[in-house]
Amino acid sequence: MVEALNIALKQEMAKDSSVIVLGEDVGKDGGVFRVTDGLWEKFGGERVIDTPLAESAIIGASIGLALGGMKPVCEAQFDGFSLPMLDQLISHASRIRWRSRGRFAAHLVLRFPYGGGIRALEHHSDSPEAYYAHTPGLKVVIPSSPYDAKGLLVSAIRDPDPVVFMEPKRVYRAIREDVPETEYTVPIGKANVVQEGSDITLVSWGAMVRECKEALALTPYSVELIDLRTISPMDTKTVIESVKKTGRAVVVQEAPRNCSVSAEVAATIQKEAFLSLKAPVKRVTGFDTVIPFARMEGFYIADEKRIAKEIEKVMKF
């Protein structure tokens, strides 16, 4: 996935000279996960910018850069360090179009790696998508595969609205697949039916799609697996159609449960597919605690066995 993202950035930068990359250690170092590797050498320090350590200024300046006609793709080094950007994102990036009555917009992308599973220090393993998805005006995109990552990042860079692009760091290098060299896009706002099925709908996104796929092998049921790909605006149509067919749904996320994206999915299903439901919608989530350090992390992030078990419970409801 790292390479796929890297190629997407290279292609868009080559094609559109207003696209620039900025953030901490994104230049010479190529980013701490090497997503921006080689860009600085290829496009120079004016378009691939190592900034001082200042997240609020990175995103705030990106808004200004966007107003000035650039298309900034800025980076927060980790999930936990995207939080100083919330003020600028919520107070400005997300509502500039609204506030200026359509005259101005923040055509920018904020990328950052998110989630656990890499045995990291505190603040390096969080899944903060709900904070962003709760904000009107922001688009929130989370790819689960290298192919989608490339196509979605290209779409994000071209999207006229501010896009928060969250990269599942524990599958950065874990999932390998061939990605076309040629340019393509994966549309924002469109979920992906990973596998069709008739008994139950399994909805997830990002890194957890891998655990969901593994769970498929552990269950005798015909599971329809949906990868949301875009958290906001959500492709509710695909989810609803599926649940209307299967009558059951399990939503899987890594983030804590309280007021999270899975609640939104569940609420949508009960509103739009209520009469088709044969069992209550089930959520498999992180706990409402801080995600533990690596020694205990495996208890926190649901694994394929826990997911399979919950599928069974819903089937036997």
């Binding site: 901490e24 001082p52 609020s56 220090l121 706990f287 409402d288 690596a294 205990m296 208890f299 826990r306």
Partner: protein
Amino acid sequence: MRKTLGKFSVDYLQILDEHGVVTGVMPKITNERIREMYEQMVRARVFDETALKLQREGRIGTYASIRGQEASNIGTAFAMDKEDWLFPSFREDGTMIARGFPMSALLQYWGWDERGMAVPQDVNIFTIAVPVSTQIAHAVGYAWAMKLQKKKVASVVYFGDGATSKGDFHEGLNFAGTFALPVVFICQNNQWSISMPRSKQSASETLAQKAIAYGFEGIQVDGNDIFAVYTAVRDAVKKAKEGRGPTLIECFTYRMSDHTTSDDAKKYRDAAEVVEWEKKDPITRLRFYMKQKKMWTETYERELLERVRKEVDEAVRTYESTPPADIEDIFRYTYAEMPPALREQLEYLKRSVDETKNMGGTNG
């Protein structure tokens, strides 16, 4: 009309040069105290080398080395009184150890176990702050509480050169200046913020001068000279406790290692630079001085190393023989009292672990 309203200057303090020659005014400390300083620096170095080795062997996780910054770490610990509070970032293992934080707990912290973050009751150290600069305002608030309660306690906060770029730094310093708070700001300028050299972090000539904008004194010290660090922090702590407000101390030092064990400095840093700084090593420098004063012999060094290695090995044993935490530990400290919904989640996890057997750790 146009007139000059202000001009500023920034002092630089060095007492011991890189050859161990006294170039300034020695602080009034006994030889015994100097030996203790040396010992703490050596302890920090041995701990650091051991931690790096453990990381390579997969026995602890990502680790941020303090090599080269021992004087900046340890000088402070000696300049603070027991009642003072330390607000660390993540590159102050030496300071923490010298103030009584157990080495085994630090290894636990770096070794994927949050129980290592628990600070012993009688140790005045706040928890390690990973989000850069965020601890600065905490130290300011603590100092404020001391002032409001008329307690003679200083708070001392550490951060790096990169941290001075964040708003938290500026907001914190402004509060401290405005409310004249008993806080000492210590910037370990180790010349690098991961791949970002100091020269590109800020257009300011020094980081110390940033204090002037907030109405108080900033001083740059030779951060590899423990006497300079000690003197500057000692003066600043005294000043704080006498109600004369905050001070910013820029310790001019160098990060000899990679940023952390996850980093590869070869990608962005010239090896020759590291070689140059090797000559300024803080421990070698103090050893030169002690040798001149006949406070150092080979036997002393050998015995010291032996003793310290034993202690560190003991800490490793303690760390590695600590039994795993129970599942409840994940939930225990989220609230003072566990809300019913959270208790339900805990019960669910316990059941789920039983149902799926060895589920734990599969994602770790």
